[in-house]
Subunit: 216 residues, 2 copies
DNA sequence: ACCTGAACACCGTTCAAGT
DNA sequence: ACCTGAACACCGTTCAAGT
């Protein structure tokens, strides 16, 4: 019994029962041990949650961030999409990212490597640092809002099914919201991969336009 | 005793004790009533949380979104900043926005009016709809991550104090992260108003550049 | 319709005691 | 160092009963 197995159990519970599946007592039960035995490996529940976020974040391939400077845009898009995919594989764990500050080694490495890509894009160190956080906010924010509309248990319903569900919910809209009614089919896709990538593209456009980075 | 008073009590508890202060039983206690009496006004805890998000979102002045078409950029910045400020006044309630899908009347009105501003900016209806969500993701994501580093009880420590705290936490960094070490003073400001507005500016740049909107 | 009273199946965390 | 056993002060939710 060690910290690794405690985190294994925690993530397993989240994957089987969704966000509410994680509790100190459930982890203890899974490990056939008394509830307070968990406190040998983790000071409190918040620390366990931080360990889970580290584990999930580490599942996105950091190698996608390295490559030729000219391909900086694809490196950014590739990693951001990979991180989103990793998060969507553990939807029950996603809300933990918005609750626990990310200060672990994986978060540090992601930040460091993102800054490297943005340096290759021609940004100043200060702009690269700010842009790094802007991108993190977009990925985590978009995935959190996407998952909030599910039960948080993997595998999630297909994107097409979730879009269709949103469509039906948006079907009859008060005429007091004419623009909403007219573009309900676009709003239905707010949780889609193409909305995610469209947003990422707009952000990257904004970054390269403002700092003399090359336009690709 | 009505739904309004139940939501009052819920928000009051969040403001006095932070995110963990909200429970059905605590609300009942505050109203001097048995726990199950709350279920007369709300089907379950999740519904109560949605009511709280509606209440908080309604505190940002929607009038900031209306104005002359030429001032579309300032209308966007003004409202986004006002919404952030409203959220920061109730930090204990912020995580509820990442957990409960926003489908209430206030969220609808915000979406509708945001689309109007983006129409004035020259975006197509489809782009305006997508841009609306991109902006919402940024505001909610940035505020959620900002609040995650506090105890969630208002009033929050001053921004300067919170930046200083982050600075000290980032003071000595492993040389394996050279870019992080070199720009720690910028990372310390990730939770600041100027980072928030910088990100918003980059997003708006990306929006106006991609769709023939006028550059301001 | 709206409340009380009581119960069920849970929580996180702490303390004292064992090995 | 790492576990057990027992307890404390909580949870959300449901059911039956009162008015």
């Amino acid at each position: 019994l060690d910290l690794g197995k405690v985190v294994d159990a925690a993530l397993d519970l989240l994957d089987r029962a969704g966000p509410s599946g994680l509790s100190i007592r459930a982890v203890a039960g899974q490990l056939d041990v008394n509830p307070n035995a968990v406190y040998t490996y983790v000071p409190d529940r918040a620390a366990l949650e931080r360990e889970v976020t580290e584990r999930v974040m580490a599942q996105a391939d950091l190698g996608l961030l390295t490559g030729p400077p000219s391909a900086w845009r694809n490196r950014l898009l590739g990693y951001a999409s990979a991180l989103r995919t990793s998060l969507l594989r553990h939807p029950g764990a996603v809300h933990l990212f918005m609750t626990a500050p990310m200060d672990g080694p994986t978060a540090r490495r992601v930040g460091e490597d993102l800054m490297g890509v943005l340096h290759d894009a021609g940004l100043t160190p200060e702009d690269a640092t700010r842009a790094t956080y802007l991108l993190i906010v977009h990925v985590l924010g978009a995935v959190a809002l996407e998952v909030a509309e599910t039960d948080g248990r993997p595998p999630l319903a297909s994107e097409a099914d979730r879009v269709a569900y949103r469509s039906s919910a948006l079907a009859e809209i008060d005429p007091a919201y004419p623009r909403t009614a007219a573009t309900a089919h676009v709003m239905a896709r707010w949780i889609s991969t193409d909305q995610f990538e469209w947003g990422l593209d707009r952000i990257i456009d904004g970054l390269s336009g403002s700092s003399g980075g090359e336009q690709v």
